[in-house]
């Protein structure tokens, strides 16, 4: 990857996500994909674990890991979306625009 900051950001996000999955998700399967498109890098991390209620997690003041992901991405104008529902697993979508960094 040409840009080291992107590389480190993606690495940390993946690390954090895997950490969460191992600690909380009780998943039996995780799909991790990093795709290199012309315009963006797209990282998706999907697990089939227990999932969670996003609002509830935020109310309880948890989700520091997600917050740090968001901060890292903000620094390089990246996009983060976390989708989860109790019982429906969790999926993370990260998109980093290549053009905005040139």
């Amino acid at each position: 990857m040409e840009n080291q900051q992107i590389e480190i950001t993606l690495y940390r996000i993946l690390q954090e996500a895997i950490n969460n999955i191992v600690k909380y998700a009780k998943a039996s399967k995780v799909d991790v994909q990093l795709r290199n498109y012309n315009d963006i890098y797209m990282l998706t991390i999907e697990d089939n674990g227990i999932g969670f209620e996003i609002d509830e997690m935020q109310r309880e003041g948890n989700g520091m890991g997600f917050k740090s992901m968001q901060n890292r991405l903000d620094a390089i104008d990246g996009f983060l979306e976390i989708n989860s529902q109790p019982g429906r697993g969790t999926s993370l979508l990260v998109e980093i625009n290549k053009m905005s960094l040139q």
């Binding site: 399967k29 799909d31 498109y37 998706t44 979306e81 989708n83 999926s91």
Partner: protein, 218 residues
């Protein structure tokens, strides 16, 4: 019922002997002749008058395809069935184009062979299931999607779910609602689906899913 007069053409004696051995158990079938190649078969037709010629494809002197062509000209009433190890679409297409009414692979069961012979004799056709698949794929003109993709990447569970909902004619918004994800995530999955399957649009995805038989209900 009159007996079905069969003529066997195969360059391997073992194959002919094996076929005769078990076809002899069937009263309704009468093996009237055999030959090692197409030419030998043609030479014996006037004495044997078979209803059906069962022929191998790859043979010296005159192969199965040439024999089928020759029979179509000289004896169009004689039915031709191919019995071969070759299941490639080119061979199947050529044989069918020349009027072969049956195409069986040599790994077929005895029951299948008998059924095929009876079908063809009674004015029908018979093709092994593998052969039917090849024919259908040809009609559909769906070239294996793999050719467009350097190395095929498996779809994730989520991607399969999204694909399934696309095939069910759901909009991005509907898919988002059904899966409790955002439209943007649906877009991302869709983009990955198009990229992974080498499709240019939703039509390509549909063909991919049908071709791989990904879903029972589509």
């Amino acid at each position: 019922m009159s007996r079905i007069k069969l003529f066997l053409v195969d360059d391997h004696k073992m194959i002919r002997e094996g076929l005769k051995l078990f076809l002899n158990d069937y009263e309704e079938i009468d093996i009237v002749g055999e030959a090692e190649n197409g030419k030998e078969c043609l030479d014996q037709l006037e004495e044997t008058y078979p209803d059906i010629v069962i022929t191998d494809l790859n043979m010296p002197v005159m192969d199965g395809l040439e024999l089928t062509k020759a029979l179509k000209l000289s004896h169009p009433e004689i039915k031709v069935m191919a019995l071969t190890m070759m299941g490639e679409s080119q061979h199947i297409k050529e044989m069918l184009a020349e009027g072969a009414l049956g195409y069986l692979l040599k790994n077929c069961s005895e029951e299948e062979l008998i059924m095929g012979i009876k079908n063809v004799y009674n004015g029908g056709t018979y093709y092994s299931p593998e052969v039917t698949n090849v024919i259908i794929n040809n009609i559909r003109k769906v070239k294996p999607t793999t050719s467009k993709v350097a190395s095929e990447m498996p779809l994730t569970e989520r991607e399969k779910e999204v694909l399934h909902l696309i095939l069910k004619e759901n909009s991005n918004k509907e898919i988002a609602e059904i899966l409790f994800i955002s439209v943007r995530t649906v877009d991302a999955h869709k983009r990955n689906l198009l990229d992974k399957t080498g499709s240019k649009n939703v039509a390509g995805l549909v063909l991919y899913a049908i071709d791989r038989q990904l879903f029972d209900d589509v």
